[in-house]
Symmetry: D2
Subunit: 305 residues, 4 copies
C-alpha cells in the first residue's frame, strides 16, 4: 500500500492502442517492462496522459488488471471521474486487482477554498481506507489549490499520502509545503509532474521525486540518481541534454502524441495511436521530433549515457 | 426511434435516491407514472438534473432499464461523458433497453467553432444509427455554440434530430435556426430547457416544445395546451402563476434540491435526497419554497387549475 | 461619505449615448431626475450596466461630474479597472467631484481565497480613506467569493462599508453574513443586485436594500416600501406584477439593451443606443418587451399603482 | 508605419518602476538603448509584460512619449483595453507621439468564431488608418482563435498587418497560415512570442521573426542571425544555451519578475520593481536564476558569444 514515504521515479504510463483504437494489451506488457527497466520505482496508470477519460468503465478495469498482473513495482491508478460512485467503483476494482493506491484530481469548476476542501473530504470518505494521491494540475483542471488548502486536506485526511505536484508555477508551493512539514505538520510525499520541466529545481525545493511520463523515461532516473549522489552539475548536464525535447513535449494537447511517437520509435509500444479526439502529428512535427531526438542522442553520448 | 418531428413536453426526470444515497427504484416507478399523468409526451433521463455524473456506469444502465420498462412514452437518455467509449457503451445499453434516442452535451473546454463541429462529427460517428439530441447549455458546459455551428452539424449529421435549447439568452438563436430551416435547411426539433423560464417566448419564436424538469411538470402541459389552442393570454396567465417558483428554481446549483423537494412534497418521490456533492436546503429555503407553493396554488385555483 | 448604515434603493444608472455613440449629457440630467423622482435613495454610476468599460478615462470623469453636479442623493462610482493606478485615478477624481464612495469588483482570473483577499487588501490600500463597495458578481467576473472571504475583508478593511450582493444563488450568503454580524462581527450594508430577481427573499434574509437597475426603477421603491411597512403580501403582489419583465431583463448580454429600450420608451433617456460591442434588439424582441409592458401596466393598475 | 513586411526581432519592453512604484523614466531611456544595442529591429511597449494594465491612461501616454522620443527603430504600442473608447484614445496619442502601429488582444470572454471576428472588425473600424497587430495569446486571454478566423480578419481588415503569434501549441497554426498565403491569400507578418520557447521551430514553419521579451534579448538576434545565415546547427547550439533560462522564465505570473531581475542584474534597468499585484522573487528563486545565469554565461562563452 502506498504511503507517505514514497519517493523516486513514478512513471506515468501511456495507454497503448491498436490502429483501430482498441486496447493493445501486448504493448501494455512491453511498456510496463520497459518502464521498469528504465528505472521506474512505480507506475501511475490511467492519468490524463493515459487517456483515462476515453476508456469505458470496463476498459479501465481491464487495463488495471493487465498492468498489475505484469508489474512488480507499486501501481497508482488515476480514478478521477465526474462523481464519487464512478470513483469508488474503479478504486475498489483497482485495489482488488493489486494496485497500491489511487489518484484523484479535482473536477473542473471548483473555485473557492471551501469547495476544494469539501471535495477532497468527500473523496476521502468515499474511498475509505484506500490511500490516495492529490493531483494538483491547474493547467488541465482549471482548479487553483492554495498551499493552505493542501495542508488542510493533509491534516484532515490521513489517507491522503501523496501530492502529485503539477502546478505551474509551482516551486514556491513545494517550499511552502515543506516549510509546514518541517515545522510540525504531517509530511506527505511530493512527486512532481509537468513533464519534468523543473525537475532539479523541484528536488532542491524538497520534492521526493518525479511522477511524469516523458517519452524517454530514463531521464528521470538518470537525473535523480546524479542528484541523489550529490553530483548536481552532472544532473544539470543530463537534464539539459533532454531539455529541448522536454520543452517540445510540453505543448498542451500535443504532448501525448509526441510521447507516444517517441515510445513507438523506441519499440516500447507498437503504435502511436491516440483515441479521438486526439491530435495526430503532421509531417513537420515528426521532422522536428526526429531532429531533436538525434541531437539528444548526441548530447547523451557525450555524457557517456 | 426519436426523429425530427418530436414535439410537446419532454420532462427531464430526476434520479430518486434513498436517504443513504442508493438508487430508489420504487420512486422511479412512481415518478415515471406521475410525469406521464401530468402530461409528458416523453421523458429525458440521466441529464444534468438527473445527477448522471454521480452514477457509476452500472447504475446508469440500471436506471435506464427501470425507466424504459415502466414507461410507455419515448425515452431519451443523457449519455454525455468524458470520452466516446463511455458514451457508446451507455448508448448501446440504452437503445437495447428500449430507449428512443440519446442526448449529448459538448465537454467543457471546447472553444472554437471547428472544435465543436469536430466533436459532434466524432460523436455521430461513434453513435452510428442512434438518433441524438444536441444539448446546448452554455451556462453548465461553458461551451458557446453559434447558430451556424448547429446548422453545420444538422446538415452533416442526419442522426442529429433534436436541439435541446438551453442557451441563455437564446431567443434569437431559435429565430436564426428557424429562419434557416424555413429557407431550405433541414429542420430538426427544438425543445427548450432553462426550467421553462422563457417558454412562451420560445414557442412564439418557433420552438416545438419544452424539455425541462420544473418541479410542477404539469406547468409545461398547461402552458403548451393553451398556447397551441391559440389562447395566448390564458397561456401567459398560467405561466405567470408558476413564474415565481420557476424563478426560484432557476438558482444554479440549488435548482435540483428545490425540484426534488417539490417532487417529494407532492409524494412523487419518497425522499428529496441528492448525492454528494449536492446542496441540501436550509430551513430558510424551505420556508421560501413553501410560501411560493401556497401562492402558486392560490393563483392556479383562481385560474380554475 | 458612504458608510455601513446605507440602505434602501440605490439605482444603478445607465450611461446614455447619442445615436452616434457620443455621451448624451442632456439625457444624463433627465435620467438622474427621473431616478430620484421614482424613489432612489442613491445612485450607482459606471457599473457594468453603465457600460463603464466602454468609456475612455476622460469620459468616465465627465460622466461622474455631470451626475454629481445634478444629483442630491449619494452617488457611488464604479471604478473597477485592470490595475490600481486606473482605479485610484478615477476614484480620486470622483471623490473630488462629490461622489460618496466607489465600487470595486475583483478582476477576472482571481481564484483562491488568498488571491481575492490580497486583491481587496491592495485595493483598500490604494484607495486610502475612500469608502468602497465590494461588488460580488460571479456570473460576470467569474470570481467566486466565499462568505468567509468577505468577512475577512470586512474585518481587515474598515473602508469596505458595503457589499453589492449579486451572487447567484446568493440567499444563503446573505444569511451567513448576517449570522456573523449578529454574533460579533462588523456589520456592513448589503444591497442586492441581480436585477431584483430575488428582492423579497433577500430582504427577508437580512439585506438592507436593492442596488440594481431594472428599467422600471420604481419597482424597488414600491416593493421595499410595502416590505418595510410589513405588508408582505402586497409586496409580493407588486413584485409579481413586475416579475415577467424582471425575468426578461435578466438575459445576460441583452439585459442592458432591454433596460435602455424601456428607459427610452418612458422618455427617461432620449435614445436606447449602446456602444459597441453591444447587442441591439430585434423586432421580435421589441414585440416581446411591448407585450410584457402592457401586461405589467395592467397588473399594476389592478394594484392601484 | 508598420506594414506586412515587418520582420526580425521586436523586443517586448518592460516598464521600469522606481522602488515606490512610480515610473522610472531614466531606466526607460537606458533600456531602450540597451534593447537596440542588443539587436532589436523594433520595440513593442505596453504589452502584458509591460504591465500595461497597471498604468493609468495618463501614465501610458507618458511611457509612449518617452520611448518614441528616445528610439530610432519602429515602436508598436499595446492598446488592449476593456472598450474601444480607451483603445482609440491611446492609439491616437501613440501615433501622434511617433509610434508605428498598435497591438490589440481580444478581451477575455470571447468564445465563438463570430464573436472574435466581430471584435476585430470593430477594432479595425475604431482604429481607422492605424496599422495593428493581432495578438493571439490564449494562455493569457482565454480566447482560442482558429487559423480560419485569423485569415478572415486578415482578408477583411487591410490594417491588420501582423500576427503576434503566441498560441501554445502554435506551430501548426503558423503552417496553416503560411499555406494559405502561399496559395493566394494576403500575407501578413508573423512574429512569435512565448518567450522564444519555440523560436527555431517557428522560423522553420514560416515565421518572420520574434516578438518577445526574454531577459537576455540578444538571444533572439543571435539565434535569428545564425538561422538566416543558414547555420542551423549553430542556431540550435545558441538556442540550447539559453533554453534553461527561457524555460525558467516561462513560468506564468513569475516570468516578468524573473525578466526584470535579469534586466536589473545587467544594469539595464535600475530596479526589478513590479507594480502590485505582482509577485516578487524569493531568495530561493533568486538563487535558481543566478545558477542558471552562470551556466548560461559559461555555455555562451564556449560558443564564442
Amino acid at each position: 500500500m502506498l504511503d507517505e514515504t514514497a519517493k523516486g521515479v513514478f512513471t506515468i504510463a501511456a495507454t497503448p492502442f491498436l490502429p483501430d483504437g482498441a486496447l493493445d494489451f501486448d504493448s501494455i506488457d512491453r511498456m510496463v517492462d520497459a518502464y521498469i527497466e528504465k528505472g521506474a520505482d512505480g507506475l501511475t496508470i490511467l492519468g490524463m496522459m493515459g487517456e483515462a477519460g476515453k476508456l469505458s468503465a470496463e476498459e479501465s478495469v481491464a487495463v488495471v488488471r493487465r498492468v498489475t498482473a505484469r508489474c512488480q513495482v507499486p501501481v497508482i491508478v488515476g480514478v478521477s471521474a465526474s462523481g464519487f460512485a464512478a470513483i469508488t467503483a474503479l478504486s475498489n476494482e483497482a485495489m482488488e486487482a493489486g494496485a497500491d493506491g489511487v489518484m484523484v484530481a479535482p473536477p473542473m469548476g471548483l473555485q473557492t477554498d471551501a469547495q476544494i476542501t469539501n471535495y477532497f473530504h468527500s473523496a476521502a470518505d468515499a474511498l475509505g481506507d484506500i490511500p490516495f494521491v492529490l493531483q494538483d494540475f491547474p493547467l488541465a483542471t482549471g482548479v487553483q489549490i492554495s498551499p493552505s488548502v493542501i495542508l488542510r486536506i493533509v491534516e484532515d485526511c490521513p489517507t491522503c499520502v501523496m501530492l502529485k505536484h503539477e502546478d505551474w508555477p509551482g516551486l514556491e508551493k513545494i517550499s511552502a509545503l515543506r516549510k509546514a512539514s518541517d515545522a510540525c505538520g504531517r509530511r506527505i510525499s511530493i512527486l512532481c509532474g509537468n513533464g519534468g520541466m523543473f525537475l532539479l529545481e523541484e528536488m532542491i525545493r524538497g520534492a521526493d521525486g518525479a511522477m511524469t511520463g516523458f517519452g524517454y523515461p530514463e531521464m528521470m532516473r538518470q537525473v535523480l540518481d546524479a542528484f541523489l549522489a550529490d553530483k548536481l552539475d552532472r544532473a544539470r548536464d543530463i537534464f539539459d541534454a533532454y531539455m529541448p525535447m522536454i520543452r517540445y513535449e510540453s505543448q498542451p494537447g500535443m504532448g501525448l502524441a509526441i510521447r507516444k511517437y517517441s515510445l513507438a520509435r523506441q519499440g516500447i509500444i507498437a503504435h502511436p495511436t491516440l483515441r479521438k479526439p486526439g491530435a495526430g502529428l503532421t509531417a513537420a512535427a515528426i521532422t522536428e521530433i526526429d531532429v531533436l531526438t538525434l541531437r539528444q542522442e548526441k548530447r547523451l553520448a557525450e555524457l557517456g549515457l
